[in-house]
Each structure stands twice: as C-alpha cells, then as structure tokens.
C-alpha cells in the first residue's frame, strides 16, 4: 500500500507536481498517464526519492519514505525505465544480480534467482546469462531490464515508460507478460506512460495527470463513463469509447448462464474481441470456456452490447 499525501515539487517558481494525493492498493497496477511535461515522471521519481519532494509525504506500508536513507529505500523498490538502462559492461546475469548483490544475498541464492527470472522472462539461462546487453535484441534487452527490476522480490515496482522503445507487436506481448508476472508475484506496480491504450491494457487503476495536477484517479471504465475533466475525454477519445469499454471486460466476467452450439471463446478474451468474432462469423451466441476447456456460460450479441453502454 502506497499513500501519497499532498505531494508537491517546485523548481524555482515552476510547480511541476501540485498537491497530488493518491492511495495505491497493495498488489495492483496503477498507471499514471499524461502528456509530456504533465509531471507524471516527477511524481513517480518522488516515490523512490530520485526527486526529493518540496512538500508532502510518501508512505509505503506504513513507513514514511523520508525517514530512510534514499539509497537504502531504493534497494527495496524495483525500478525499470525506458531504454532499459542496462549496464553495457556487465553480462545479463550480472545486470539482473545488481540489487541482490547490493543487499548482500549469497552467491547461490543470487544464481538461483537469476535462473528463475530468465526462465520467467523466456530467456534460456544457458544461452543468455553470459551475454552482454549489446548482443541482445531490443525486446530481449527490455525483458532483462524488467527482470532486473524484479530481481530482489520488491513489494513495489516503479516503471517509467518501460515499453516506450518497443515496436507495437513486441510491446503488446511485453504488456501481457508483465500482467502475468505481476499476478504471480503480487507486486504493487506504479507505471508511467503517455499511451492511454497501455494504461487501459495494464491498469487496475489509472491516474490522469495534466500540468502537475491529478485530474482523476479511478478504474479505467470510470474514466470513460464519468470523465472528471474534458481533458480526460480528449485523452481517451470519444469516437471508440464503447469499444474501449468492451475491451475492459473479459468474457468470463460477462458470461451468462447457459450454453450454445458451435463456436467457443476463452474466458480471458475481452468482450471487444468476442464481439469482433461474432460479427465476423455471423453468429449471435457463443460458448465461453475456462482455462481447463470446460464450458462456463455463454455470451449473446445483445448481452455484449449492453456492456458497451454506460451504466
């Protein structure tokens, strides 16, 4: 649980972050979204005190971050940035081992952890542990960067545009992987992006910032249905907001009782994808199956459409 209370940062006469307060639940992904210059990165960097706040407090799990030495605080918080920031003179394994080493883990534990993380991030330890960053592709470098941030099993992970340098296909995969790994470890993630689609894709909650102010901090659907400010409508776009809304609900969550003949969709598919399938095949109803392949309900065209309207 991260409590941010009246956090303000001023550089001379310029207020970059203005009296921002938000409460980030444990084990969730919170995405801070905004245009460049909105103060979103500064807000993130005040959480691990890369930027010292002018006023206000950050409390992580009941401890005021200002009471700890900055570098010790940072060792307990994961940190991943755009362009990965890998150390070019160190191997993949050494890069990932950075924080565990700082924390004084023994060699065997570090080795085991590096192996685990490489496997989790789909990099064969035998092939990649000894490689240098310049020998990897952009997507692999980025995965190592995120793996390094997870290395010391931090309760909190800060990410500043971590997927900004990736092409769209690799980015989508990286986002899905991050969700899976976050669920697996139960890490509390605060992620900064300028990409509203990324915010909707990843965020349990989304905080919208503009000109140093926090305009709205809510569930993604609420940003579409009840935007607190015209800027938020402009950011999310109104042309396809019904489709965006559908993309926030999964088939499993919307499934009705009953079953149907013919096609099936996985429970993890979004309603947007199911609707697209139905339109394409001309069917009016589809069976939802769970991860084990067992039917767990059905979805009708009308039922799906109802989810695309604000309620």
């Amino acid at each position: 649980m991260i409590e941010i209370k009246n956090l303000t940062k001023q550089y001379g006469p310029v207020t970059v972050v203005d009296q921002v307060s938000l409460s980030i639940p444990r084990g969730s992904i919170t995405v801070i979204v905004g245009t460049s210059g909105s103060g979103k990165s500064t807000l993130l960097r005040m959480i691990n005190r890369l930027v010292e706040p002018t006023s206000g407090r950050v409390v992580i799990n009941g401890t005021d971050t200002a009471t700890e030495r900055a570098y010790l605080l940072r060792r307990g918080i994961g940190y991943a940035i755009q362009g990965h920031g890998l150390f070019p003179h160190r191997t993949v394994a050494e890069n990932i081992a950075t924080v565990p080493r700082l924390l004084g883990w023994n060699a065997a534990r570090i080795r085991a952890r590096v192996q685990d993380l490489l496997n989790i991030f789909q990099l064969d330890p035998g092939a990649y542990a000894g490689k240098f960053p310049h020998q990897l592709s952009g997507g692999q470098q980025q995965r190592v960067g995120v793996a390094r941030a997870f290395a010391a099993e931090p309760a909190v992970l800060l990410m500043d545009e971590p997927f900004g340098a990736l092409d769209p296909i690799i980015r989508a995969k990286a986002q899905d992987d991050l969700r899976d790994i976050q669920r697996r470890f139960g890490t509390t993630i605060v992620l900064v992006t300028h990409d509203i689609d990324e915010a909707f894709r990843l965020g349990d909650r989304v905080a919208v910032m503009s000109q140093g102010q926090m305009l709205q901090y809510d569930r993604p659907a609420a940003l579409l249905i009840r935007p607190a400010d015209p800027f938020i409508s402009r950011l999310t776009g109104t042309g396809d907001r019904a489709m965006k809304l559908l993309s926030l609900t999964t088939a499993g969550e919307a499934a009705e009782m009953g079953s149907a003949e013919g096609a099936t969709v996985p429970a993890s598919a979004t309603l947007r994808d199911v609707l697209s399938d139905l339109l394409w095949s001309g069917a009016a109803v589809v069976t939802v199956i769970d991860a084990a392949g067992m039917p767990c309900g059905r979805l009708t065209l009308a039922g799906i459409l109802a989810h695309g309207r604000p309620r």
């Binding site: 605080l73 060792r75 940035i81 150390f87 950075t98 924080v99 310049h134």
Partner: protein, 404 residues
C-alpha cells in the same frame, strides 16, 4: 544484371580485395617508396667516413668498400625487394620482403664499418649516410604498411613489438654494428646511457602518473559541475600554448625562490633546476589531455544506465566507480596514451635545465656538432615513444573489445 568483374573482386575480404581489385596495376605506395629509394641510392652517400669525431666526413660508395660481386648481391636483394613492393602480392610476402631489405641494409652498414675501421683504431668514425637512412625509412614504411594490411589483433601487435625489440637487442649485442659511429658514442657513454635512460623514463612516467592522479578527479568534478568545466579547460589550454622551453624556464623562478626560502625543500630534492621543474612542467602539459578525455569519457556514459543505477540504490560512490569510471576508462586511457608519448618526446628538452634524460646526449651532440651523439639520444627516444604507443594502443583496443 551481370556484376562487373572488379566489383565482385572488391567483395573478397579487404586485404585480399585490395590487391585483387588492382589486378595487374602497380602498387602505388610501393612505387613511391621505390622511387624515393632509387633516388637515395643514386644521389646520396650510403656511408660517410670521418678521420675523427668532429671533422666533416667524406662520402664512400659501396664499390670503394666491398668487392664488386658483394655490391652486386646487395643491390640484387634491393631490386628483388623493390619488385615485391611494386607487384600485387600478399601482405605476408611484402612484410617478409621489407624485413629482408632491412636485414640487408643493416648487414651492409655493419660490414662497411668493419672494413673501413683499421684494426684497433678508436678515432675514425664510420656513419650511416643519408641514403642508408632513407632506405631504412622506406623499408620501415613498407613493413608498417604490410602489417597494417594484415590487420593484426592487439596481442599480435604486441608480439610484433617484442620480436622487433628482441631482434634489435640481439643485433646490438652481437657486435655487428660496433664499428659504427653511434655505437662508438655508446661505448664512451655506456655508464651514463643507462642512468639517463632511467632518468628519461622517470621524467615521463612520473609526470604522467602525477597528472593522472590529479587530472582524473578534476575531470570528474568538471563533469559534475559544468561551470567549472569551461574555466578549467580554459586554464589548461593556456598552459598547453606555452612553449616547452619557456615553461621550463618560467618554473625555475618560483621553485628556485621556494628552495631558497625553505631549506628543507632542498633536502627532498626540489630546486630551481633539475628534476623538480622538469617533472612539474611535464605534469602541467599532461593535465589537459587527461582532464579533457575524462570529461568526454564520462559524458559518453549512457544517462539511462546512470539513472537505472541510482534508481536501484547504488550509492553515488558506487555509481562513479562501478559504472561511470569503468565505462569511461577506454577514453581516459586514450588520453593517458597521448600524454605518455608526448612526454617521452618533451622530456628531451628537460636536459636543458639539468634534469637529465636522453636529451643530455642530444644537446651535448648539438653543442659539439657531433651528430652521432645526437643520434645516441634521439634513436632511443623514438624507440621508447613508438613502443609506448603500440603497447597502449593495444591495451585500449583490448579494453574496447571486452567492455563496450
């Protein structure tokens, strides 16, 4: 579309490609070197004979020294080397030809010394003439060009250097060249030679070591504080513009005054003349390249890597020593290489203020118009500078290869 023949040949690895692409054409560098060598053989003396150390010498042609068939054999070897240099052969063959040429020229000059020196006579001087030096330079360039085309790795280049040093040492030790004037000067100055060699190395290495200890921290500060950067670089640039003799002279004043005012300073060897002002001057000249390269090297470290390091909880000291300095090291080392080679040359002038070094022979030789003595000082300086350049270049390249 058919690929033109020449174009296809150029695709074959570079060193082979060059000769193949040229086909039957004449190697341009080889042709130039052959022309220069030919002109030197025709127009300049190979050997100069002097009745004693300081009288003007008279040129001797090879035919005056050796029987005709030996002279013919010598020129035959040179013609073969020239033909190899002109033609398009592999770099290995060119290198071998150049080395055979060097051996032939060296043997000839050594033998000329033996023939021209009457038994037991220590007064006559036999010096290599201008055409010997020109031929040696041409052959040296031919060898260097061949080595460059072979693209040897750092370890191989160091091996070449060691082999070269061993061969030169063996030739000098064999007594082959003992009747040449330079070796005569060495014989007279043998005990001082070792001492001045040590002093020369001390002047160069000592000043560079001191400069690195000061300049790297100064460079780090300049990297951190931009305001300091302009002022520091400006001041160091100013020092760099002072001619070396002037700087040695300028430093004599304050150091002399210091020694006069505080006797204990004299006890530790600091005086207005001698080693102290020389090391100080060389130290001052060394600051700019090392400071500048430290700033450039640190500036090239990826800001993302530094940000990530700080964000993961490395302390400022750890960021400096574990990340920034290691990544900047190849560039800093390049700066050190520059000042080391520079100081090996500059230390020569230090002899003028009584600091010793190989410059002692150079300036004594100039004063006595004894060119052989000048060479006794100059040749080791060139060899020392060249060796340091090869060694440090190899080191820089090795580091660049491993840590990118």
């Amino acid at each position: 579309m058919p690929v033109p023949d020449g174009g296809r040949h150029r695709l074959v690895g570079d060193k082979m490609g060059k000769s193949l692409a040229r086909g039957h054409a004449i190697d341009r560098l080889g042709a130039l070197l052959c022309l220069i060598g030919l002109a030197a053989v025709i127009g300049l003396p190979f050997v100069v004979f002097k009745a004693n150390r300081i009288v003007p010498g008279s040129a001797r042609s090879l035919l005056q020294i050796f029987p005709p068939w030996e002279v013919l054999a010598f020129y035959g070897v040179l013609v073969l080397v020239a033909a190899t240099a002109l033609g398009s052969v592999s770099a290995r063959v060119r290198l071998a030809a150049a080395l055979i040429g060097v051996a032939a020229v060296t043997l000839a000059i050594g033998a000329a010394g033996d023939v021209l020196t009457p038994l037991g006579n220590k007064v006559v001087r036999v010096s290599p003439g201008a055409s010997f030096w020109v031929l040696l330079v041409c052959l040296g360039l031919l060898a260097t060009d061949a080595i460059t085309r072979l693209r040897p790795g750092p370890a191989m280049r160091v091996l070449f250097l060691v082999l070269f040093a061993v061969v030169v040492g063996a030739v000098l030790a064999s007594g082959l060249l003992d009747h040449l004037s330079v070796m005569r000067e060495y014989e007279v100055n043998a005990s001082r030679f070792a001492q001045e060699a040590r002093q020369h190395v001390f002047l160069a290495l000592g000043s560079v070591t001191g400069a690195v200890l000061i300049a790297v921290p100064v460079g780090i500060l300049c990297h951190r504080i931009p305001l300091l950067r302009a002022a520091t670089l400006g001041a160091l640039n100013l020092i760099q513009t002072i001619p070396s003799i002037a700087l040695f002279g300028i430093l004599m004043v304050p150091l002399g005054a210091l020694a006069a005012a505080a006797p204990f300073v004299t006890d530790i060897g600091i005086r207005g003349i001698g080693t102290a002002p020389a090391v100080l001057a060389l130290f001052l000249y060394s600051l700019l390249p090392v400071v500048a390269n430290t700033i450039v090297g640190l500036g090239r470290v990826s800001p993302a890597a530094v940000d990530a390091a700080r964000g993961m909880g490395l302390t400022n000291w750890q960021i400096l020593t574990d990340i920034e300095l290691i990544l900047a090291f190849p560039v800093i080392l390049t700066g050190i290489r520059i000042v080391l080679v520079q100081n090996i040359g500059l230390a020569t002038v230090a002899a003028l203020i009584g600091a010793g070094g190989f410059g002692v022979f150079v300036f004594q030789g100039i004063n006595q118009t004894a060119i052989d003595l000048v060479l006794l000082g100059a040749l080791p300086i060139v060899a020392l500078g060249f060796s340091c350049a090869v060694l440090l270049d190899a080191l820089v390249e090795t580091i660049n290869r491993t840590a990118r």
